[in-house]
């Protein structure tokens, strides 16, 4: 039962971590910022509301939030958190998880296209475009991990002290991987410099514009899904940044939380010190991650024969 408790805990804590980014940005802006529990307040507010549906929409519009939350939540089930085995794991589950997140993306895009809004179409086109390069990066990283471990499951890369084994055999090239994954994190979760979640102009949005027409609990699902997705990628990056666990289990959750906070703070700092890239510069930025992952793979090729 322990893995399921941890999964529930992760779902519950994901909104809290996202608030850290807001807090960091407020700090850089010289403001006090909203409270740490802001995301919970937002979710509760949304769940109390009813919904307004556009007359153009169909059932797909309602399916969008459901599928995107379900896919993000299911993805978390495959991830070892705080040194505890995931709910379910098998050889090849990384592929399943990546494609499941793809399913979530398909439905988010389909829900946006359902509204007949030109702005949402624009956001959808970008949402369809940028993750293609991210996927290439992710698979390049997977090739590297497979080369190092001979396994194809999230549990074998990130549970226990396994990340330390990755570091041991790959050495400093692992830094490339960490940066590449961090870029993927920023892209997949629509953070600056790819997308600005706090922007006020619909024309420059990606994720936010796609969910313009969602309201009430549906919108709450979408928010929760994006918290979960961010949590998913952050956990991966944090496990690589802090590869070792203590020998005694009880301290591990604390360590996990600390390392997660570090990743979220890093994302917040990135948002505070950078501006969003012009749209045509974004693919180049994401391609950097692919280049880094490829470099790492090539270097590893020379070391491990």
């Amino acid at each position: 039962m322990k893995p399921i408790y941890i999964w529930c805990l992760a779902m519950l804590l994901a909104p809290f971590f996202s608030a850290i980014i807001i807090k960091v940005k407020a700090f850089f802006g010289g403001r006090k910022g909203s409270p740490f529990l802001i995301n919970y307040y937002t979710l509760i507010k949304l769940f109390k509301k009813g919904s307004v549906y556009s007359t153009s929409t169909t059932i797909i519009f309602k399916l969008g939030p459901i599928i995107s939350l379900s896919s993000a939540a299911t993805a978390l089930m495959f991830l070892p958190i705080a040194g505890i085995a995931p709910v379910f794991s098998f050889n090849g589950d990384v592929l399943f998880v990546l494609y499941l997140l793809g399913l979530g993306r398909f439905f988010t895009i389909a829900a946006a296209m359902d509204t007949a809004s030109p702005f949402e179409g624009m956001g959808a086109a970008r949402e369809a475009y940028f993750p293609i390069i991210c996927e290439a990066t992710m698979f390049m990283v997977l090739i590297l991990f497979y080369k190092l471990t001979g396994e194809l499951s999230l549990a074998s890369y990130f549970s226990g002290n396994n990340p330390a084994i990755l570091w041991n055999s790959a050495g400093s090239t692992m830094l490339f991987v960490v940066i590449a994954l961090f870029i993927v994190l920023l892209t997949e979760n629509s953070r600056v410099p790819v997308d600005d979640p706090a922007t006020h102009l619909e024309l420059t949005m990606i994720h936010e514009v796609m969910v313009l027409d969602h309201s009430g609990p549906d919108f709450g699902f979408i928010e929760l899904a994006s918290f979960c997705k961010l949590f998913f990628y952050s956990t991966i990056v944090s496990r690589l940044l802090f590869p070792l666990f203590f020998p005694f289990e009880t301290l591990n959750p604390a360590l996990e939380i600390c390392s997660l906070i570090c990743v979220y703070v890093a994302a917040g700092v990135t948002e505070s010190v950078m501006a969003r890239y012009r749209m045509d510069k974004v693919p180049k930025f994401i391609l950097t991650s692919f280049a880094l992952a490829s470099f790492a793979t090539v270097i590893i090729m020379e070391f491990i024969k």
Binding site: S51, R105, A116, S117, I132, I143, Y146, D213, G216
Partner: protein, 653 residues
């Protein structure tokens, strides 16, 4: 074997008698459809039983005294036969309501004649054992499908598409003939069995010839040029069969020749894999740029043939590097993708056929909002789109999963294999992302939003015979995606007859893998159910209102403001600019108050088509233009030519 030939006879009878009873249009359709369906069911049962219990099923007939027509059905043939019969069965049911132009009775009857011939010849190709049998069936297949493509021959572009297809299928056949010719010259035997004894260099040459020949039928880049022209021209059930099944016969040819040559050089695997990666990525890039629904689907066939070839290539590399799991996963992934693609591609073509029939147009950018009126078509099309994008829990994911795992097995091997596997995996990842972009475009622009023109406004969906096959196919997309065990075992039966020397194939690890896919899908469904319950609770007693879409403050939106498919795909196409040059025609707008109307037209150029015209067609035309003087119209000299030819033949042969 008798059952097999009986089923073919029944199918052929269904087509043969159609022109005779064409005066009773309705009766003719009932007769043809029922007979073809009955034949297909019989063939399906027969092929299925042969697949489950593989054995030596052979038959041989004397033909013109000196030749013998011999047939053999092994696991590989049986697997393809199952695909052929299953899809043809559903396509012929679909045709019942699709072909409803009473005034074109003769044409419809001819369509059934050639349709039945196409099914029969495809079945004969995969069952043939021997060069003569193979080429005879192959030519019948090419010719009958040519007549099906020019069904609407009044339109010039359809005639042009038919001509292009004719040229391509015969140039392709020429390469296959050349391959057989080289083999015959060395072995002196018209049977398949002796091809093993060729020397290695000749095996490579012969394989390359076969690959070009079969590749041009399968639609491998750069021999795919006919495909995006011919598929839209043909009636939709024919497109479904051609794209779903007929091009797979080309794949069958490649795999069969690989088995027959028994030449496991890494070069062959490399060629197949490289061709697969290029076709896969470029196929989907060109698909993104299309404005014509059926043309777009046709380019997706190029993409999926690429995925199948990637799987096959991984299998071949696995064989040459002695890695058994890699070989088995690659081949069975490729074969399963043959079946999967047949299922979702014919589903998508049938959906496109319904759209075409009800709206009268195939242009993506003037459609919209169809799912509101065409619920079944829209939903099944959505399922097909999810499946073709390779998303779980649908069937496309399962075959891609097997290919991925096979590719990852190659990552752990030597440097060359590592590089190839790396290219294969990255290509598959990029293809997956691009296919998702392309199908969100199709579903989003054609089926969602608001109708962009009058053509898309007053539509409905009718015709039980058109809807039922789509529902069945969509059902199979989900069944294979959730419970793939049976179908993977089917593909593995096909693989075990490849004669790779792995008679002891271990089913157990792969069965465990399928169990994991099923469990993971079940987990996902459980979460979806949980979320649905929470949603129901959250909305209990809440007020739900409907209003217009939020236009970001703009209060007078029109349907023309919706994002179009062209703009949706523009930035992705731009990324691949060197391979997909966009031709735009857009006169600039002049003045503050422009009076003159302007227009915008864009066309994504296929570099294969572009260069084939410059590099092959133009020089050939130039050359033959120079030889015009030989054709002077003087009959006496023509007879002289014949005499000369006879003398030359007498002396030299």
């Amino acid at each position: 074997m008798n059952l097999f030939f009986l089923s073919l006879l029944i199918i052929f009878a269904g087509g043969l008698f159609a022109p005779l009873i064409r005066r009773q249009f309705f009766m003719m359709k009932i007769f043809s459809v029922f007979t073809i369906v009955a034949g297909c069911i019989l063939g399906l049962v027969d092929a299925g039983s042969k697949l489950i219990s593989p054995g030596e099923y052979v038959a041989s007939f004397k033909y013109l005294k000196s030749f013998s027509l011999s047939f053999q059905i092994d696991g590989l043939s049986a697997f393809f036969l199952v695909t052929i019969f299953a899809i043809s069965l559903l396509a012929s049911i679909y045709s019942f309501h699709y072909m409803d132009k009473t005034d074109k009775a003769l044409r419809t009857a001819t369509n059934y004649l050639f349709f039945s011939l196409l099914i029969v010849s495809m079945a004969l190709v995969v069952a043939s054992k021997g060069m003569i049998t193979f080429m005879l069936s192959w030519e019948i297949m090419s010719l009958s499908s040519f007549f099906l493509v020019i069904f609407n021959y009044e339109a010039i572009e359809n005639r042009r598409a038919g001509y292009l297809y004719f040229v391509f299928s015969h140039v392709g056949a020429m390469f296959i003939f050349a391959g057989f010719g080289v083999a015959y010259a060395h072995t002196g035997s018209l049977g398949f069995g002796q091809m093993v004894s060729l020397p290695d260099t000749f095996k490579l040459i012969v394989f390359i010839l076969f690959f070009i020949g079969f590749g041009s039928k399968a639609g491998v880049f750069p021999f795919h040029v006919w495909l995006p022209h011919a598929h839209p021209a043909a009636p939709s059930h024919i497109s479904a069969v051609m794209s779903g099944v007929m091009i797979k016969v080309g794949i069958y040819g490649i795999i069969r020749m690989y088995v027959l040559l028994n030449y496991h050089s890494p070069v062959i695997g490399g060629i197949v894999l490289a061709a697969g990666c290029i076709s896969g990525v470029l196929g989907v890039v060109y698909a993104l740029g299309q404005h014509d629904l059926k043309r777009l689907l046709a380019y997706h066939s190029v993409e999926n043939i690429g995925i199948i070839l990637i799987g096959t290539g991984i299998g071949m590399i696995g064989v040459s590097s002695g890695n058994v799991p890699m070989a088995i996963l690659g081949f069975s992934g490729g074969l399963l993708h043959v079946l999967n693609h047949a299922i979702f591609k014919s589903l998508l073509f049938m959906g496109a056929g319904m759209v075409l029939k009800k709206t009268g147009t195939r242009t993506i950018d003037i459609l919209g909002g169809l799912i509101k009126k065409m619920k079944i078509t829209g939903t099944t099309f959505l399922i097909g789109s999810l499946a073709i994008s390779g998303l779980p829990p649908f069937n496309g994911f399962v075959s891609e999963f097997l290919i991925y795992i096979g590719g990852f097995k190659g990552v752990g091997l030597d440097r060359m294999t590592f590089a190839m596997s790396l290219i294969a995996i990255i290509s598959l990842a990029v293809i997956g992302g691009l296919a998702l972009a392309c199908f969100t475009k199709v579903v989003g622009v054609v089926f969602q939003g608001e109708p962009r023109s009058a053509a898309a406004e007053n539509v409905d969906e009718q015709g039980f015979s058109m809807l039922a096959p789509m529902l069945v196919l969509a059902g199979f997309c989900l069944i294979i995606g959730v419970y793939p065990k049976f179908f993977i075992l089917m593909a593995m039966k096909g693989v075990s007859s490849l004669g790779l020397g792995y008679e002891w194939i271990q089913f157990e690890p792969i069965v465990r893998m399928t169990g994991n896919i099923t469990r993971a899908a079940a987990l996902f469904f459980a979460v979806v159910l949980f979320v649905l319950i929470i949603r129901a609770l959250a909305y209990r007693g809440k007020s739900i209102t409907r209003s217009g879409t939020w236009g970001c403050g703009f209060t007078q939106p029109t349907v023309k403001m919706q994002y179009t498919g062209s703009s949706y795909a523009a930035s992705i196409i731009d990324f691949f600019r060197p391979f997909a040059p966009v031709h735009e025609d857009h006169p600039p707008i002049r003045g503050r108050m422009p009076r003159r109307k302007t227009h915008y037209h864009s066309h994504v150029n296929d570099i294969a088509e572009l260069h084939q015209h410059n590099v092959i067609v133009r020089p050939v035309l130039f050359f033959f233009d120079k030889l015009r003087w030989m054709q002077h119209g003087d009959i006496h000299l023509y007879i002289g030519y014949i005499l000369l030819a006879v003398i030359v033949v007498l002396f030299f042969v």
